[in-house]
Amino acid sequence: MSDDETLAGLLHAFVEVELRGALTLDDAYACKVKYLGKKGLLTELSRTLGSLAPEQRRARGQEINEAKAAAELAYEARCAALKAEAEARELGVFEDLTWIPPTPPGTLHPVTRTRRALERVFASMGFDVVDGPHVEWARYNFDDLNIGPDHPARDMADTFFVSPPAGSRWSPGDLVLRTHTSPVQVRTMLTRRPPIRIVALGTVFRRDDDATHSPMFHQIEGLCVDERVSMADLRATLYRFVSAFFERPLEVRFRPSFFPFVEPGAEFDMQCPFCGGKGCSVCKGSGWIELGGAGMVHPAVFEACGIDPERYTGWAFGFGIDRMAMLMHQIHDLRLLFEGDVRFLEQFPC
């Protein structure tokens, strides 16, 4: 075998066999080391030059250098091809991202959600948020609110009475489950001096259980006591509240009504927030939605709480949180609120 054949054979073996057989950049580099490394097969050929005649040496040297240059080029080309292949392979992969295990958000109960929204609005209007006990003195729930033992208004609140603890000096009839949040008014007026601006939100109880009543429900109550507080201020406050709560200006109107602890007393309606008063299915075409009761604190209540009714006047209002929640979320059946079906609860994620 001539030297030419050896050189051509090595180059051929490197380019056509080994490099072509290399499937990774590491393989290709190993081939390069095998032929072009310090002890590579092509590199070794240069060492045979010393045994050649000078004129032959130059020619042979040039041949070898050309072969090595060709080998380098072939190596670079193979590397480029392999990189391209690898890239194509990586991008050719399909990853199925179409199915993610659900992580459903938790939810707040619509009553909590509404209660918080109410607290936010009233807090921003300068009202302090307070609450009181659920098991309450009949005195605070009734008597101090101008609802005496024989007052027919005790019919209006069908009351759960709580048995006094055995051996206590209290009699049956002294303790009740509060029928409204109004005893919080009494508690506040007994413990704070005017000016008073509070809202009380909480659970209340009545012996009533049908499609539209639950024996337990939730109320909000507002109270303002100061010198020269007027009923016009009550109307202005309720207007500010409904407009802030529904984030649009909504009229408030009063209809005369009766609650023993206020005088004058009224029921108040707001312009329907869903149609702006034009009439829709929610407001049954009337443009108005009934909210709750309101009025000027009865002087008898002030007297029971040790506040001078000549010096101070005040107003109070109250309405149902559950009803407001039902209105906000268009829930038509009160019973859904308290039975705990997750398919209902999970509908209030935000």
């Binding site: 295990p101 958000p105 938790g106 939810t107 109960h109 909590t112 302090d128 948020v129 006990p133 659920h134 098991v135 309450e136 024989d150 007052h151 759960f160 009475f161 709580v162 603890p165 206590s168 209290w170 049956p172 303790l175 704070r192 005017p194 000016p195 008073i196 601006r197 509070i198 259980d209 024996p215 100061d226 020269r228 507080v229 007027s230 009923m231 016009a232 201020d233 109307r235 406050t237 207007y239 009063f254 209809r255 005369p256 009766f258 023993p260 005088e263 004058p264 007393g265 029921e267 000027m296 009865h298 002087p299 006047t313 308290f338 039975e339 705990g340 997750v342 398919r343 609860l345 999970e346």
Partner: protein, 837 residues
């Protein structure tokens, strides 16, 4: 309270013309007066084609014994009508004839047809067919010879009417009769109206017949004796009126009392005087052992608080509530005693409540009827009607007086009115309103009027009551929106109260962030569910309702678990999805406790404790790994820890020191604050609880709760230096008993660190890993092939670092070995086979 528009218009007469007002206008005016309209019913529509018919001839039906063939003149022509009624009058009698094409109130349309082969046109109608009364036993036969062809609405007033249902608030007893509504309406419509006076019969006074023994309970009593009464049906128009107002016509004498009740709001009673022993009336308290059988056949045992209308010896009526069964008029009665009285409201209310009775009469007396002109007017009206309808002849008056409330004088300050309303009402308007409702006002001192309230408005007692009248009639819709400037800033809640509000809100938010759904359960509990959580339902600590709605839920909850299990059971019965719930609410327990300070503290100390709990319940009939993960008790524990972390509270978990009987004995743990306080617990719900709640086999549930009173206040996080020098970690492989809790191993390792490192400046120590991981982490808990029964292979990772320098491998290795050796020695007391792998 049902109000007839026709009757209102009749009463108002020329003073106020209601004709221009639509029903909607009338409704709006009543609503504006605080007389809430609950419903409006129009009656008599379509009855214009029912006309008065005169019977011309009656003959038997050839084919049917019960039917008759009637020839009837309807004003236009003689019609042949087949009629099955038993009371077809003789020729000349007047009946009500529905012409063909009439649509009756029940929906039936009258035509012409053959009845058993005889042609029949139109129909002769009964009261029920026309909806003018309750009688369906025969056709209506008119008493008066009204011209044939007269349409029914013209023949009988009140057939066509608008009936308005009012919801009358307790402060308006006057509006429980048409007179009161008419008076109010007249003022609202800018007029002034007084009921037409009716005179009492001019008969001799015979005062000895009526005696008031309980003067404090009966303020005034009018009795009138009649003779020659004949008891029978009332005139048709009166019966139609009663029917329209929802009352059943009975007999003329009783109908008189009912109509006067609806007109004046004054309950009356008519006794058969022959039934009254010695023909006398004694108004007195009941005596011990006395009883009374009422008109509705209830036997009442009377008590000394009950006021009765007695004769010479026995109670004849429970005063103001209901008559006795032999006190009323019978068809044979001829001598009557009409009673019109005023009873003290509170007494009637107590009696009615004790006997569980509520009648039209007691309803009005409880609220306070007029003891003045109204009482007399009602009495006179009834006397006149008894004469007219029963032919009764008044022969004697018996008037007796008890303690009658005196006139109420109220000072009214116009300036106070303007200030309280935030609106000026012109003086002439105020005067007109007062005059209209019957308040006599003496404005000679313009700053403070001297006003006397009328006896028909017993609830007018104070100045605000008059201000209420002013604004009610002037119009609440005229109230401006005008803020009152505050005199000072209002006080707020104490900081500790606000803090607890914030903590509770943060806990609720945190639980919701854990993918849980908030539920609100009723706060009531059954004895069985109280027992389920380890409380004796009969113990004095459990709060008991004196009058539960349903016998079962007679207690207040002591725990949130039962309510959540109820919700789980409901969900499991309805669908098969995992149920992941939380609730934040109060539980109740009688306990002596101190309760803050201030004027309510002493009395509040006797109220039950109402601590707040936040509880999590996850349950399902697991169908696959995601379900299992959703109801894993560790998920519940993680949610509790997350909630605590959300308020900045650091807590750890340990095996329950005092296990709860309602959780699985081998699967429960406590959540402990760094302070050592147990703030919560969680675990698997005891299988017996699931059985007790009738949950299907295979349902699993995990429960956890936080005691909010132990959750610490939110605090401002304090910065600690971030480690600046790289640390190093070592893994520890242990062969440990499954029964040896990881928490114990981790505590032992951390405890050993403190004991091991004694000297040196800034030695390597266990340091928390990044992203809030502990200094010791559990990497793997492996318990399958190659691991002995009851044991597991644990892989723990421990993080080391120094404060001021980088650690070296050698020193970390030394420290690590020392800690591990010391910990293993200590833990061998609990797991003799504990060793490194």
């Amino acid at each position: 309270m049902l109000i007839s528009r026709v009757w209102l218009a009749e009463l108002l007469g020329d003073a106020v013309d209601l004709a221009p007002l639509s029903d909607g206008d009338l409704t709006a005016a009543l609503t504006g007066l605080g007389l809430e309209v609950e419903g409006v019913t129009r009656t008599g529509a379509g009855l214009e084609t029912v006309v008065v018919g005169e019977i011309v001839g009656v003959r038997p039906h050839p084919d049917a014994d019960r039917l008759r063939v009637v020839d009837l003149f309807d004003g236009d022509a003689v019609r042949q009508v087949v009629c099955g009624a038993p009371n077809v009058p003789a020729p000349g009698g007047r009946v009500l004839f529905a012409r063909p094409g009439t649509a009756l109130p029940g929906g039936m349309v009258i035509g012409a047809r053959a009845v058993r082969g005889v042609d029949s046109v139109g129909m002769i109608c009964s009261e029920t067919e026309l909806d003018i009364g309750p009688d369906s036993s025969g056709i209506v036969v008119l008493a008066d010879p009204i011209a044939p062809g007269t349409p029914l609405p013209d023949a009988i007033v009140g057939v066509v009417d608008t009936i308005i249902e009012l919801s009358v608030t307790p402060n308006r007893p006057d509006a429980l009769g048409h007179v009161g509504v008419a008076r109010d309406l007249a003022v609202k419509l800018g007029s002034l109206w007084r009921p037409s006076p009716v005179a009492l019969p001019e008969v001799p006074d015979d005062p000895g017949i009526v005696r008031i023994e309980a003067a404090d309970a009966c303020g005034r009593y009018f009795g009138i004796t009649f003779d020659g009464a004949s008891i029978g049906p009332s005139p048709l128009a009166a019966r139609v009126r009663l029917h329209r107002l929802g009352l059943r016509p009975l007999s003329n004498a009783v109908d008189v009392t009912n109509l006067v009740l609806m007109q004046w709001g004054q309950p009356l009673h008519v006794f058969d005087r022959a039934e009254l022993g010695e023909g006398r009336v004694v108004v007195r308290r009941a005596r011990d052992g006395e009883s009374l059988r009422t008109l509705d056949a209830r036997d009442l045992s009377l008590a000394a608080e009950d006021l009765v209308i007695a004769d010479a010896s026995r109670p004849m009526a429970l005063a103001g509530i209901m008559g006795g069964d032999h006190s009323g008029v019978a068809s044979t009665s001829t001598t009557l005693l009409l009673e019109a009285a005023w009873f003290h409201p509170a007494g009637i209310r107590r009696s009615a409540r004790r006997h569980g009775m509520s009648t039209d009469s007691s309803h009005r007396f409880e609220r306070g009827v007029d003891h003045g002109d109204g009482l007399q007017g009602a009495c006179a009206e009834a006397a006149a009607l008894l004469q007219r309808w029963c032919g009764a002849r008044p022969i004697a008056m018996h008037v007796a007086q008890g303690d009658r409330p005196g006139p109420v004088t109220i000072a009214f300050r116009p300036a106070r009115c303007s200030m309280l309303l935030g609106m000026d009402v012109p003086r002439p308007d105020v005067e007109r309103i007062f005059r209209g409702i019957g308040v006599e006002a003496d404005a000679s001192d313009p700053a403070s009027w001297r006003c006397v309230a009328p006896s028909h408005r017993p609830e007018l007692e104070r100045e605000v009551d008059l201000i209420d009248e002013v604004v009610r009639h002037h119009g609440l819709d005229r109230l401006p929106m005008q803020a009152s400037p505050p005199t000072a800033e209002a006080a707020g809640s104490p900081p500790e109260v606000r803090m607890r509000q914030r903590v509770t809100a943060a806990i609720v938010d945190a639980l919701r962030e854990q993918g849980l759904h908030e539920v609100v359960s009723l706060a009531f509990a059954r004895p069985a569910s109280v027992a389920a959580t380890g409380d004796d339902p009969d113990s004095p600590g459990v709060v008991r309702l004196a009058n539960p709605m349903r016998g079962e839920a007679s207690l207040l909850r002591t725990h949130l678990l039962p309510g959540l299990l109820d919700a789980l059971a409901l969900n499991v019965a309805r669908h098969h999805r995992p149920v992941t719930l939380f609730e934040c609410g109060r539980v109740y327990r009688n306990a002596a406790h101190a309760s803050g300070s201030g004027p309510t503290a002493e009395i509040d100390a006797a109220l039950p404790d109402e601590p707040t709990r936040a509880a999590v319940l996850c349950g399902a009939l697991p169908a696959g790994d995601p379900d299992r993960a959703a109801i894993d008790p560790r998920r519940v524990g993680a949610a509790l820890l997350h909630a605590l972390a959300r308020v900045g509270a650091r807590a750890t978990i340990r095996v329950a020191a005092s296990p709860m009987a309602w959780l699985h004995p081998g699967a429960q743990a406590e959540v402990v604050l760094d302070s050592g306080v147990v703030v919560g617990r969680f675990g698997r719900v005891h299988p017996q609880q699931l059985v007790a709640w009738d949950l299907p086999r295979g349902v699993e549930a995990a429960y956890g709760e936080l005691l909010l009173e132990h959750v610490p206040d939110l605090r401002v996080p304090q910065f600690a230096a971030v480690p600046r020098f790289p640390g190093s970690s070592r893994d520890l492989s242990l062969d440990a008993a499954i029964a040896l809790p990881v928490e114990r191993i981790v505590s032992a390792l951390i405890g050993a660190e403190t004991a091991t490192i004694t000297s040196g400046e800034d030695p390597p120590r266990l340091v928390p890993g990044e992203l809030g991981r502990g200094a010791v982490e559990l990497v793997e808990d492996y318990r399958a092939q190659g691991i002995a029964e009851g044991r597991r292979a644990l892989l723990l990772r421990m993080h080391y670092g120094c404060r001021t320098r980088s650690v070296t491998d050698t020193e970390v290795q030394q420290t690590h070995e020392a800690i591990v050796e010391a910990a293993i020695v200590q833990l061998r007391a609990q797991d003799g086979h504990l060793r490194r792998r």
